[in-house]
């Protein structure tokens, strides 16, 4: 048994924001009560959460664990360890591994590896098309039975409107969300950052915001056609957000996520340092403002990191030759507090929602602190100062633009199935 004492419990599902004790018994939550009121806690291990926020376990619904295939950059073991350090209790790993997770045996491999080596829960996402090649539909039902929670061809968009239509039709019948990496590949071809004054100045090939938003517009219309649950991954452009806002007004099942780097940095922050290179690229100032507004007004459903480790040998090269992607787990809470909460853009309750009930709803799951629920808990500080040093990261890779950044508040403890997985 584990007694989390005296923490400020913030639970969006029940709208609770009060100091409470929580008793975890085995893998489930046993009791929640006012401080000192839990009588059966005798002999329980005690975690003193005084001054800390105690929330339902955070979910990162968009991550790359690189296993199988690119274990030099990350493994399920190291990736989930970094996730635990970042305060996440569950992560959804994208299927662009080598080989691609487009069949039930790869899905089972990931689930089994995660059961043995994982520090947090791993919920795989299956490839929508075979090899994510955009041609034939993969064995989505078999993968669902093996444990996938969504489908996506992430890294690439659903290749054609026709494929998007078929995937959405099929996934509606399977009750799975379709996660879209929205990108018009012809508009984005060759680009290594967002098109604008910064790309023009640096002489780096840019993709316009429309490279994302024209694809979002296509998908929103196909979501309307099919009635599918469509989720836009790592949304970065104001015009894309407006499409999602419009879709929600129409009552469509359209949701979206935003990454911490897109609500923190902009294209003007890009230097020739490839740690600032990711896809979608850092957007314009006005896009970031729009994302901040969307995070506050409810248009954005989730914060997801798009944790994308790449080993130095392939990432520390010329900017235009480096692969897209940056680390995300360990800095997510720090950045959310810094950009959203400490700036009074959103209350802590809303931030917790963006990491818990928000992504859970997209995935068709629940996330709450209540007796009988899984004992997944994220405990974080609102004010403790700390500095992120990427050389001490639990990830195998080092590609973070936030190395050396000092934060006010961050993850304090991560509990999965009643076990403290961070700090270990």
């Amino acid at each position: 048994m584990l007694l989390i004492k005296n923490g400020r419990v913030i639970d969006p599902a029940s709208k609770t924001d009060a100091v409470r004790d929580i008793l975890l018994d085995g893998e489930t939550i046993s009791e929640i009560a006012a401080p000192g009121k839990i009588s059966r806690a005798n002999g329980a291990e005690v975690f003193d959460a005084t001054g800390l926020v105690v929330a339902p376990g955070f979910i990162d619904m968009h991550v790359h664990l690189r296993e199988p295939g690119q274990e030099n950059s990350e493994t399920i073991e190291t990736g989930t360890k970094a996730a635990a350090r970042g305060g996440f209790t569950a992560v959804c790993c994208m299927p662009n591994t080598r080989p691609v997770n487009d069949n039930a045996s790869i899905t089972r491999f990931i689930v089994d590896r995660a059961r043995v080596h994982g520090h947090v829960r791993v919920w795989p996402i299956g490839a929508a098309s075979i090899g994510s090649k955009g041609e034939d539909i993969s064995e989505i039902a078999a993968m669902r039975d093996a444990g996938i929670v969504a489908v996506s061809d992430d890294g690439k968009p659903l290749a054609t409107a026709k494929l998007a239509r078929q995937i959405m039709d099929y996934c509606r019948s399977l009750d799975l969300p379709v996660i879209e990496h929205a990108e018009d590949v012809s508009l984005a071809a060759g680009a290594v950052m967002r098109e604008g004054i910064a790309s023009t100045r640096l002489g780096l090939a840019g993709m316009p915001a429309a490279a994302e938003s024209v694809c979002v517009a296509r998908d929103v219309q196909i979501a309307e056609l099919t009635g599918a649950r469509l989720h836009i991954a790592h949304l970065s452009a104001k015009a894309s957000l407006e499409q999602v806002r419009f879709a929600k007004k129409q009552g469509l099942h359209v949701t979206c996520e935003v990454t911490p780097h897109h609500f923190t940095l902009i294209d003007e922050d890009v230097t020739y340092d490839s740690r600032f290179k990711m896809n979608p690229p850092l957007a314009a100032r006005e896009d970031r403002e729009a994302l901040l507004a969307g995070l506050a007004d409810g248009t954005v459903d989730a914060i997801a990191t798009d944790h994308a480790p790449h080993e130095p040998a392939i990432k520390d090269v010329e900017f235009d030759k480096a692969p897209f992607g940056i680390l995300g787990f360990e800095t997510a809470i720090g950045l959310a507090l810094e950009q959203l909460v400490h700036t009074d853009r959103i209350p802590v309750m809303r931030m917790v929602e963006l990491f818990t009930t928000g992504p859970a709803r997209v995935l068709g799951k629940e996330r709450k602190l209540a007796p009988g629920e899984p004992a997944d808990v994220t405990i974080f500080s609102l004010d403790r100062p700390w500095t992120y040093h990427v050389k001490g990261s639990a990830s195998k890779s080092r590609n973070s633009p936030f190395d050396g950044r000092t934060f006010k508040g961050g993850p304090a403890a991560t509990i999965v199935a009643g076990k403290i997985v961070h700090p270990d």
Partner: protein, 334 residues
Amino acid sequence: MTYRFRDLLALEPLSADELTFILDQAKPFQEIQRHPLKKLAILRGKTVALAFFENSTRTRLSFATAASRLGADTMNLQAEASSLKKGETLLDTANNLNAMRPDCFVMRHASSGAADFVARHLEIPVVNAGDGTHEHPSQGLLDALTIRDRVGHLNNLNITILGDIAHSRVARSNIHLLGKFGCRFTLCGPAMWVPRELEKIGPPGTPIRCVYRVEEALEAADVIIVLRVQTERLHEPSLSQSDYILLYQLNAERMKLAKPEALILHPGPINRGTEITPEVADGPQSAVLEQVTNGVATRMAILYLLMVGASEGTHPALEVKPDAKSKESAHASD
């Protein structure tokens, strides 16, 4: 004054005074080019690595000649012969060349920011001899030297740049340098080569306008910089060459719209009959060959400043004692 950076990666961070200082340092080296014996001993015993990861004839020869006339030896790496073809990374290649202990690393590379990337990893001075579509600092400096010689100054000139500005590292270096002297820019070419964002890349307050009619670009120009139509950098689908000639070729007829004393520059190599007609390229307003001569003097100044540093005393080229015994100098004066 001294040059305050270790490297020369871009002209954007340099002030007008610093740019003037470099141009002034080039002045005495211009004299050397006219001397029968051109070899100095300032860099004797030093080695300049010339790492050209992208093809170049003119710039590589110009730097090699500059190094040689300063008395330095050169190490040459050329794209075709290099191990990059065998999969070695840029950083490994740079580290390997560096292990042969050169004193300066001059590099050209097809990736914007490549020189910046290498400079972060090496401790010796790095000279950017052209990085992707970013900057070509020595070209910007030699263009300014040529303009200053012909016009007499650099202040508040009307500069017109014709061609594929978006993909031109020369144009960016021209804007960053000449913009510091109050020059006004008119950028002209087909719309996809002249994005509006270019109006915002210059030094703060620099008037830059993008126009799509060559007639509008030529009137009032003091200097016309004609860029090469770079077929190797065109993104598909590319523009029709005959359309380009029809709309933008600099020919004698169009030159009548410009001031009679307007100066014509071209960074080379020229595609005669495409972006410029032979009669204009070879006409009295053209300073194309002066640019090439000034290129050597400018690069001598750059190598001198980065490898020795200007001292308080006289400029080394002012007490010219060319090394008459050197074979190279005998050849060079042939």
